[in-house]
């Protein structure tokens, strides 16, 4: 029994000593420390404040060859916030040149006799040229334009036919009231801020422990650790715990100093749960970094390997692009990325106010990956020095 106690006391002391060593080592790299603070505050502030993913103020030019009240009314309906009238062009070439230079996104041409045709009830075509270099925006612009033109056409037709005087309330149509949940005003800052915070945490969670491990290898200090009474687990564990602590501090910094006070992110769920699960996430992701560290012999290799791990994790997590649109094989790959689960967890707790029961599948998935990666990493690490 006393042997058992002694073993635990020793293990704890070793753990404490190693933990202090790691924290000191990190603390003395001033540039790195300053950069961690920058990334978790200023960088997240920039991303959250500066980016809007929706179609706003698309610059548009009008080529009005009709010049009647009808043509002017149609053009005027392309209004803020989606469109921004950029002026008038008279010749085709002028409009094309503006599109070429990227000064306009849309050129609307109204043909001569547009108003006359409309009054007689004859079909008439309006041409629109859209710069679809960015296809998502091109799509949005086209669909808004279609809606504007259809409504204008319907109203003028109803007026002409003398039906209901164009009063929409009397028509047997469906009025669809679209309600957006969890982010009613569609604040891009909420999404951008939270996902940037998760991205930064991920970058550090992969790089910090991997770098700390490979550095020991490169300098040869790992040999000292191997001949010490420490087990491989005793070497790896304090590294991961110290880095997890640092990253959680960073997350707290960005949440309490930037996201909640500046951008009014509601944080509907339990923050304790959020930090506990963030800790679990960083731990899991650190396992991936250590995995790279066991393969790499020097930091340059570790760096390239971690790009290989990080870039797909960040880009294909489902935050940027909807998972439904990915091919099946990539979606399969996504399920082994811990960030995919963490995304559900973070948005679930902060915006939807979910608790453990709703998030259980995500938590289980993340834990399973974490355990698997760590076991595998430990195995590789052990084998390396046998």
């Amino acid at each position: 029994m006393s042997d058992f106690l002694l073993w635990w006391r020793l293990a704890l002391r070793r753990f404490a000593v190693m933990l202090v060593k790691e924290l000191k080592q990190l603390g003395r790299d001033r540039v790195l420390l300053a950069f961690i603070v920058y990334a978790f505050t200023a960088d997240i502030f920039l991303a959250a404040s500066g980016v809007s993913l929706s179609l706003n103020h698309a610059a548009m030019l009008v080529q009005d060859m009709d010049r009647t009240p009808q043509s002017r009314e149609l053009a005027a309906r392309f209004a803020e916030p989606h469109f921004q009238q950029g002026g008038v062009v008279t010749r085709d070439a002028q409009g094309l040149a503006a599109l070429d230079r990227g000064e306009a996104m849309i050129v609307l041409s109204v043909p001569p006799d547009f108003g006359k045709h409309l009054q007689k009830g004859e079909p008439v075509a309006v041409a629109m040229q859209v710069d679809t270099t960015n296809s998502v925006l091109g799509f949005l612009a086209t669909s808004y334009a279609q809606e504007i033109v259809a409504r204008f056409g319907l109203e003028s037709a109803m007026r002409r036919l003398g039906l209901a005087g164009g009063a929409a309330a009397e028509l047997p149509q469906a009025a669809n009231e679209v309600r957006v949940w969890y982010n009613p005003n569609q604040e891009d800052s909420w999404f951008m801020g939270i996902s940037e915070m998760l991205n930064i945490a991920t970058v550090f969670a992969v790089l910090l422990p991997a770098a700390a491990m490979v550095r020991e290898k490169e300098r040869g200090t790992v040999e000292q650790l191997i001949v010490s009474p420490l087990t491989p687990f005793g070497i790896l564990f304090p590294k991961v715990v110290s880095m997890t602590g640092v990253i959680l501090c960073g997350v707290a910094l960005s949440l309490f100093l930037v996201l909640m006070p500046v951008f009014a992110i509601p944080a509907k769920g339990s923050l304790a749960l959020f930090f506990a699960l963030s800790g679990l996430y960083v731990f899991t992701t650190a396992g991936l970094g250590l995995f790279a560290a066991t393969i790499a012999r020097n930091l340059a290799q570790a760096g390239m390997l971690s790009i290989l791990i990080l870039a797909p994790m960040l880009f294909l997590s489902g935050a940027w692009t909807p998972p439904e649109a990915m091919p099946a094989w990539l979606r399969g790959l996504m399920f082994v990325s811990p960030l995919h689960y963490y995304l559900d967890i973070a948005f679930g707790i902060l915006l939807k106010g979910q608790g453990v029961t709703e998030l259980l599948p995500a938590i289980m998935g993340m834990t399973a990956i974490g355990v698997g990666v760590f076991a595998f990493g430990l195995l590789l690490f052990r084998r390396q020095f046998d």
Partner: protein
């Protein structure tokens, strides 16, 4: 500058890279692999949006309404929900992103010639996706309403429905998509991926290469030698620029052959312009390596300083016009935005030096500035 010494440094560096097999192969594998992964995975199309319907009316009209969504390729039907509570739970769990709630007496009101309300709940966690979804919902709703109004008008006036429909839609919008006629994402995506990948890998390679010597202490050989600062930096960077130049070709081939993106511009303009861009990103790596002392810091600083701006502030996902003032300034400080104009112009618009001399000039100045600052800050007499 003594070219012989530059060559000596370059060949030493080249040998060092070549002997590190894993690093050498990763230098080529990483860009190519990222191009393949992102090209397939980073689809910005919003399609197959999972949705559920709560039909409290159960009339012919309500079924017709739901079918318009079920038939659409933009939505993927996940079944009727028994009540609104169930549907809301599925929305919270992320199983569906849209819920249509058709209230009782929907069909009856339409038959009486009155407006009938419908409620759509959209998951707003990802705002841009919610926007696009709203666009689809509005379009389908408009089509349904038009059909319903057409029916009513034809009943009142006795005109055949086809004529009424033609009367009600007098204006046709003929849309021409410029630069990317089919609006397939990959055409607009692949050229920008070249930009992102060339922003990721050259600075990383370079920063690690220089800081490694600092951390290992082998830089003292250089400090003590008669190699000048300029010769050292030129020789040191040459192999990394060479690797990145090969990667330019590989990425261009992947874009044109694997993804079938048309290349309308001229290679004689594209390749030198891309080289200038690579010099810029290499310069960023150089600057980082001069500023930091450890490889760990070099890795993290380069990662955060290049990867995140390359995605957010370069026009890859978010167009520059949608950026706020702060982010806009960051975008203008990074070379990525200028190169985006060049790469998109070369691939999709087929324009050359006449329209793109401005971004090219900016990039050249940028590269010169980075190298000048790197040169000024690099010292053979370190303070510590």
């Amino acid at each position: 500058m003594n070219l012989k010494r530059v060559a000596a440094i370059a060949s030493k560096e080249w040998r060092e890279i070549l002997r590190d097999r894993l690093f050498f192969s990763l230098a080529f594998v990483v860009p190519a692999l990222l191009m393949v992964l992102f090209g397939y995975g980073l689809s910005l199309d919003v399609e197959n949006i999972p949705f559920a319907v709560v039909d409290q009316d159960r009339s012919a009209a309500s079924r017709d309404y739901a079918y318009r969504f079920i038939d659409s390729r933009y939505f993927s039907f996940r079944g009727y929900a028994a009540n609104q509570r169930d549907a809301e739970r599925a929305l919270a769990a992320g199983d569906v992103r849209v819920v249509l709630v058709i209230p009782p007496r929907f069909g009856q009101r339409l038959a009486q010639g009155r407006e009938a309300g419908i409620q759509t709940l959209v998951d707003g966690t990802f705002p841009s996706r919610a926007m696009t979804t709203k666009g689809y919902v509005t379009a389908i709703n408009a089509a349904f309403s038009l059909a319903s109004v057409t029916q009513a008008v034809s009943r009142v006036t006795g005109m055949p429905p086809d004529d009424v429909a033609a009367q009600l839609t007098p204006i046709a919008l003929e849309t021409r998509y410029l630069y990317n006629q089919s609006v397939t994402s990959i055409w607009s995506l692949a050229p920008k991926l070249i930009m992102v990948i060339l922003m990721l890998s050259p600075p990383f390679l370079t920063a690690l290469g220089v800081v490694r010597e600092k951390e290992n202490g082998s830089i003292f050989n250089i400090y003590a030698s008669n190699v000048s600062r300029g010769e050292f930096l030129a020789g040191k960077l040459l192999p990394y620029v060479a690797i990145s130049s090969v990667n330019i070709l590989v990425l261009w081939l992947l874009a044109t052959l694997l993804y079938g993106v048309p290349f309308k511009g001229s290679l004689l303009f594209f390749l030198p312009a891309t080289l200038v861009y690579v010099l810029c990103t290499t310069g960023i790596g150089l600057l980082v390596s001069v500023l930091v002392r450890t490889q760990v810091a070099a890795m993290i600083v380069t990662m955060v300083a290049t990867m995140i701006p390359a995605v957010l502030y370069s026009g890859l996902i978010i167009p520059i016009v949608s950026l706020g003032p702060g982010a806009r300034q960051v975008a203008e400080l990074m070379p990525a935005m200028y190169y985006t104009d060049i790469v998109v112009g070369c691939f999709l618009k087929g324009v050359g030096l006449q329209s793109l001399w401005r971004p090219l000039l900016v990039l050249s100045l940028y590269a010169c500035l980075l190298f000048a600052v790197g040169y000024a800050l690099f010292s053979k007499r370190p303070k510590t």
